[in-house]
């Protein structure tokens, strides 16, 4: 005997699927298809002469070539260095700054306003500003000389350039971290903190022993987002050093760009981009799990 489901319920059952269609189409057009082309390019021999035309399939040869040279491993290491630098900056400084700013008052409001401004600045603008400040004869060296310290070649000394670039990227990403952590702090029930205070906990004791454990899910997600940000950081490095001096600031995205668009080695650039993407995918898995866990909770 056929079931006679009411029309309204059947229609309602199909609605959510219909809602997914536009999103699915946009995702397919702007993410899935380009990624498919990228992967296809990384498995083919593509140069300027055949960018329009047939792409001979070469299997994993490009990956063997790229991963067989020390160059890409150095780029991976540099990218990882920036990721660790950002993690330290965003989580440690971010937590401390958010703790200070999680109080009511005019000053925190002004500081937060400035941070949002910094965060919203286009990297091209803030990067150019930092390039000017970090120049040999820039303001930072001027200050150092004024207090009797020797100037430094911030962007051209091989041992210093990657630190300088990482510091600028950290400066730009810190406001976002502070805002996220501050949001997490404000969501903690005040009763818990008051109880700790009554029990004799100092301000920083309650921060580290009560607040920090409660913030763990927020910090975990922020940490993953920070590493993802590090793996896609391109604009600041492009403006500040273009991967130089030599190759000391050539991270995975910069190498991918230079291979594809400066050397016109399209397949090599695509292969480096795929390698970079694999790292991002590996990091995205725990991020998605965390999000799902939060939704369930």
């Amino acid at each position: 005997m056929p079931s006679h489901q009411p029309m309204g319920r059947r229609a309602r059952g199909k609605v959510p699927v219909a809602y997914l269609v536009p999103g699915f189409l946009v995702l397919a057009a702007f993410a899935a298809y380009p990624m498919f082309v990228l992967v296809r390019m990384s498995l083919s021999d593509v140069g300027p002469s055949n960018i329009v035309g047939d792409w001979p399939f070469v299997g994993l040869r490009n990956f063997a070539d790229v991963l067989g040279t020390g160059e890409v491993w150095q780029s991976i290491w540099r990218t990882a260095f920036i990721a660790f630098f950002l993690l330290a900056s965003n989580l440690i400084i971010g937590f401390m700054a958010a703790s200070v700013l999680a109080i009511k008052g005019k000053l925190p409001t002004i500081v937060l306003g400035i941070m949002v401004f910094v965060w919203a600045l286009p990297p091209l603008v803030s990067g150019s500003l930092w390039k000017f400040l970090l120049n040999d004869s820039g303001a930072i060296n001027g200050i150092l000389e004024a207090v009797g310290l020797p100037p430094a070649a911030w962007l051209s000394e091989p041992d210093l350039a990657l630190w300088s670039v990482a510091a600028v990227i950290a400066w730009a990403s810190l406001p976002f971290s502070i805002l996220i952590i501050r949001g997490g702090l404000l969501a903690i029930p005040i009763d818990v903190l008051e109880a700790a205070e009554i029990d004799g906990a100092s301000y920083w004791q309650s921060r580290f022993q009560i607040v920090l454990p409660l913030l763990r899910p927020t910090l975990w997600i922020l940490g993953i987002l920070t590493v993802l940000y590090a793996f896609k950081s391109f604009d600041f490095i492009y403006v500040l050093t273009r991967g130089g001096p030599g190759t000391v600031t050539s991270t995975l995205p910069v190498k991918s760009y230079n291979d594809a668009f400066s050397d016109f080695a399209m397949s090599t650039g695509a292969t480096v981009a795929v390698v970079s993407m694999l790292f991002v995918v590996l990091l995205a898995i725990p991020y998605l799990r965390s999000l799902r866990k939060e939704v369930i909770e």
Binding site: M35, I51, E157, F234, G244, G246, N258, S262
Partner: protein, 426 residues
């Protein structure tokens, strides 16, 4: 269907690199996103698009004046100059072939991208136009760029490297003649930098084609070019560069300077010497010190030779009005008047024989560059020429910054240039 696939592929390639690079910005110079490709007709007026990365300064003003004059003389043709970003011009041109939305006219960095763009089918064939061009004999062979026997790209003016020197500084240390050899230059730099008051040499050591272009003459003068890049002379040149950097004649910051940044440093009056191009001559009017120019110093037992540079002019392979585009080139770019105007405006040296004889090009400051233009080095005709030049530039930057020693830089340059050139010929 095939066209649609090409468009989808090109769009996808662009999108995916954008995604992978996390939002690489191209808003630097505000290239337009619509109406920038192909020609259009509106009644009796045909509009041709011209992709130019001359976005400001004397070169842009010169081009604007040429366009204005052409439009006045040809009221039925409008030239729509679309400002592009120099670094991204090649990407745009390559993508335009796939999307079918290329320009009618464009300029390109001919010495870096010609083999690449020719292989990709970006250029229209200029051979029939060139064969009928009445003034073709005025242009030397080196200004007509061919792939096989097919003319694709024209170089109506050229830019070459030379040496600028600060006469005030040299006078202060009793140096009366500019150095003619690299050894003399080194000796002079030792003198002027000894008391720490001045610095030696401002040059671009960027890890790119610019760093390569500035360093390559030290090897060209020994007979070494991209096609025979090997041997002890390469090591000697890199070790010389290493010693200049470690002795403080060149600042470490030069490892990231492009040519404009290094020129700004020379303009501060703190540097005794600078390697730079003739296009800087146009900006020397307000300089606060006395200066002079000379040819790029030669190696002790070698000769002074530099690679020629300059903008190539081409017609897009997809232009619907190649005849009108050629008309623009013929009347606005390749004339003796245009040649005089580009030299007056920017200091670029026209390649027309009748223009190089003009009195203006016999001036003291420009003469070393004109002399250099008479015997320039030859670029490799290799699809990977950009990769070869970038490989050299990267090692130059590495050595100046101290990331590598001279020997390490030389070995890496030899290997990477050979790898890049493999299979591509010269």
């Amino acid at each position: 269907m095939r066209n649609r696939n090409k468009i989808l592929t090109a769009a996808a390639v662009g999108a995916v690199f954008t995604l992978a690079l996390g939002g690489c910005t191209n808003s630097e110079n505000g290239s337009t996103s619509s109406g920038e490709s192909g020609s259009t007709s509106n009644g009796d007026v045909t509009t041709l698009t011209f992709w130019s990365y001359y976005t400001a300064g004397s070169q842009a003003e010169w081009l604007a004046a040429q366009v204005k004059k052409f439009e006045t003389d040809n009221p039925d043709i409008k030239i729509d100059v679309i400002e592009t970003v120099g670094d991204q011009q090649d990407q745009k041109l390559l993508a335009s072939v796939a999307t079918g939305r290329g320009p009618d006219l464009f300029i390109n960095n001919i010495v870096v991208d010609f083999p690449t763009l020719a292989a990709a089918g970006v250029f229209a064939d200029l051979t029939p136009y060139w064969e009928k061009f009445a003034d073709a004999d005025e242009f030397p062979e080196a200004s007509v760029w061919k792939d096989g026997d097919t003319v694709y790209n024209l170089l109506p003016y050229t830019n070459l490297l030379g040496m600028y020197y600060n006469l005030d500084i040299l006078g202060e240390y009793g140096i009366t003649e500019p150095p003619a050899t690299l050894e003399e230059l080194q000796a002079d730099m030792e003198v002027v930098t000894a008391d720490g008051k001045y610095k030696g040499l401002a040059l671009s050591g960027a890890p790119s084609v610019e760093g390569a272009w500035l360093f390559a003459p030290q090897l060209l003068g020994e007979g070494i070019n991209y096609c025979n890049f090997d041997g002890p002379k390469v090591g000697e040149a890199f070790n010389r560069l290493d010693s200049w950097a470690s002795d403080g004649f060149i600042p470490k910051a030069a490892a990231t300077w492009d040519q404009n940044a290094s020129w700004q440093q020379f303009m501060t009056g703190k540097y005794a010497f600078a390697f730079n191009g003739n296009w800087q001559l146009g900006g020397l009017e307000d300089v606060a010190f006395k200066y002079g120019t000379a040819q790029y110093p030669k190696p002790e037992d070698g000769f002074s030779q530099v690679y020629p540079g300059g903008e190539g002019y081409g017609i897009g392979s997809q232009s619907e009005h190649p005849d009108l585009a050629w008309k623009f080139l013929e009347q606005a770019i390749l004339t003796p008047e245009a040649a005089d105007a580009i030299f007056t405006a920017t200091g670029s040296i026209p390649t027309r024989a009748d223009a190089t004889d003009s009195a203006a090009l016999q001036g003291d400051f420009v003469k070393p560059f004109v002399t250099a233009a008479s015997d320039p080095g030859s670029w490799p005709k290799n699809e990977n020429t950009a990769k070869m030049q970038n490989a050299l530039g990267t090692e130059v930057s590495s050595v100046i910054s101290g990331q590598k020693t001279g020997d390490e830089g030389a070995q890496a340059a030899i290997k990477n240039i050979a790898d890049a050139a493999a299979g591509g010929g010269c």
